[in-house]
């Protein structure tokens, strides 16, 4: 089926070339980083995880969010999601691909990464994270491919695939839960040492992921014959709204616990992120931007009219995506390191190389996504011409 990706319009090829270009920029930057060491990044002894791991964490959420279309479709037989389900699964595949790439570029010794398999360490959450992530990638590849293949032949998907689809549902939840445990189980970091870390992760993922999926579905609808359907999109918008609300509710709970208890170690990171601490605080504006655009997005989505209007829906989804991207993909991970275990407050500035590598990984991820979507859409066009 992959050959479908080889024939396309000029626009398709322009997009593909653009994404290849981004990937190449990232590759060149990565080679530079590889030659010099991770010292080419802005990370330090005190803030030892930066943009890469933050992006990884965020994207695990995007991957997990596929469950928001898979679950209603397969478990509740919600037919409206019939078309969007494949977009969700393929988004998950590209998101996991990006996760793996972000882990790789963050490794001090990438050539040794298989040591995780060679010395399986059951008490390391990272081991389990690797297990669930690769399992999830496998499940989505399998389910997406088999279902699509059946569709190409215009037959119902084979029965044996069903158990895999059902397993993929709790599995999606597990990838983000285990990723949250990477953080939540550390005695050293007060900001992360919270029992609602996993719920928080899931809420933000189930909002940001479907928001991205809506944007993609709208783009696809605009540039191709493929329409996921008005009902599906507006249902997804409802999911985005509620998960977004839950996410901000959780954030408020954290703020309450920190500030009403007034325990310094619980407050400090919040103060650093939103007000600045000891003269440091290069994230303050970014964090407030996140809050502001998130608030606007939620407000917009609250009105059903805005959820029906594609233009306004796209704006709201984009805003919410940006908001949650900052909240989790920047503030949550980097903020956790400040102040450090010896109560020193330091800033972290990503370097140009780091940003270029990050863009490269996103480029590669979207390249995978474009190719997969192309395949899916071409096959849909074959089997159901004129569904518009």
């Amino acid at each position: 089926m992959l050959e479908k990706a080889l024939y396309g319009s000029k626009k398709y090829w322009a997009l593909v070339l653009f994404l290849i270009g981004l990937t190449l920029v990232g590759t060149v930057a990565y080679i530079k980083q590889y030659m010099y060491g991770l010292g080419a990044t802005g990370m330090s002894r005190d803030i030892s995880w930066g943009v890469y791991i933050a992006q990884f964490t965020f994207l695990v959420g995007v991957a997990a969010s596929a469950v928001m279309v898979v679950l209603p479709y397969y478990l509740h037989n919600y037919k409206e999601f019939g078309k969007i389900v494949i977009l969700g699964e393929f988004l998950a595949i590209s998101a996991v691909t990006m996760c793996i790439l972000f882990i790789m570029v963050d490794m001090g010794k990438p050539a040794r990464v298989l040591n995780i398999l060679k010395y399986p360490t059951l008490h390391s959450v990272m081991f389990w994270d690797m297990v669930v992530l690769s399992g999830y990638l496998g499940l989505n590849l399998l389910c997406g491919w088999v279902v699509l293949q059946a569709e190409k032949k215009d037959v119902p998907p084979p029965k044996w695939i069903k158990p895999f689809i059902y397993v993929s549902i709790p599995w999606a939840v597990s990838i983000h839960t285990v990723t949250a445990f990477l953080y939540a189980g550390l005695p050293a970091r007060h900001f992360w040492l919270t029992a609602i870390m996993a719920p928080r992760f899931l809420a933000s993922a189930f909002s940001a992921g479907p928001a991205l999926l809506i944007l993609l579905a709208l783009l696809v609808r605009r540039y191709t014959e493929f329409d996921a359907g008005k009902k599906a999109i507006s249902k997804l918008a409802t999911i985005v709204l509620y998960a977004g609300l839950v996410n901000f509710f959780f954030l408020l709970m954290e703020v309450f616990t920190a500030f009403y208890s007034s325990v310094p170690s619980h407050k400090e990171t919040f103060v650093y992120l939103y007000m600045g601490l000891e003269g440091m605080g290069n994230l303050v504006y970014v964090m407030w931007t996140s809050l502001a655009v998130g608030f606007i997005a939620i407000l917009m989505l609250l009105f059903p009219k805005n959820r029906e209007n594609y233009g306004r829906l796209a704006v709201a989804c984009a805003l919410l995506f940006v908001s949650l991207f900052i909240d989790k993909g920047v503030g949550l991970v980097i903020g956790g390191f400040v102040p450090n275990p010896l109560e020193h407050v330091l800033n972290y500035h990503p370097t140009a190389i780091e940003i270029m590598v990050t863009i490269g990984v996103w480029g590669a991820g979207f390249l995978v996504l474009t190719v997969l979507y192309k395949v899916a859409i071409s096959i849909r066009a074959l089997t159901s011409p004129g569904t518009h």
Binding site: S44, G108, N115, I116, T121, P187, P341
Partner: protein, 271 residues
Amino acid sequence: MGINRRDFLKGLGGTVAALGAAGIVEGLVSDRKAEAIHQAAPLTGTIRWGMVVDVAAFRTEEDFRRCEEACHKYHNVPRFNSLKDEIKWIWSDRFENVFPSASHQFVSEKMEEQRYFALCNHCANPPCVRVCPTQATFKDTSNGITMMDWHRCIGCRFCMAACPYGARSFNWRDPRPFIPGELNPDFPTRERGVVEKCTFCAEVIALGEAPGPGEELPEKQMPRCVKASEGRLVFGNLKDPESQIRRTLKATKTIQRKPQLGTQPSVFYIV
């Protein structure tokens, strides 16, 4: 029963604790000590190396520098001019930084001005070991030293996020050109991309026989910082009630860093 329950729990303890279900096991072992679940790898040997820092005995900058230099020279620790690349095994900081959870209000002037050594605590229940996905960081259960295998480390830096004492450093770039003075041929240098930290001079300690009960480690097998400290640092076996370190702990009031985290540091401070 085929398997001894305690052994079984030992193996399981770390895993289960990592999954956050320690409470269930606690129920199971309530008749035994909760220690089995508290320690990822219980210290089974007859030795647990520990250190007492006699804080007040460190008066001048020179007292600190001598120890730091002895350690860093012996272990070929590089010196960078930037905070970002910094690598350190033992260093000193202020009271509120080394003991952020101790009392800070109205502390004596002496305490405020005094500096305090910070180094790896060789915790009995080390989070760094718990999180390491490759066992590159591991516990030598025969002597309580938290060890590092630089050839196995993949540089994921999970251990740095997990150590509550900021004890670990990462080789952000090739350290070799930055090793000051002459290389010590008895100790390996590191490459970029791996984590490192104080090892309690495991290789120096191992130069001779391990001391028996009631015996002390001979001077030449003492960790380098201890040797250079001229008695300001006491090193010995915490499991031997007759050792000098245990006698010191018994006779004086000491504190540990962040004891509330349950890591059970092997480094104690007389303040």
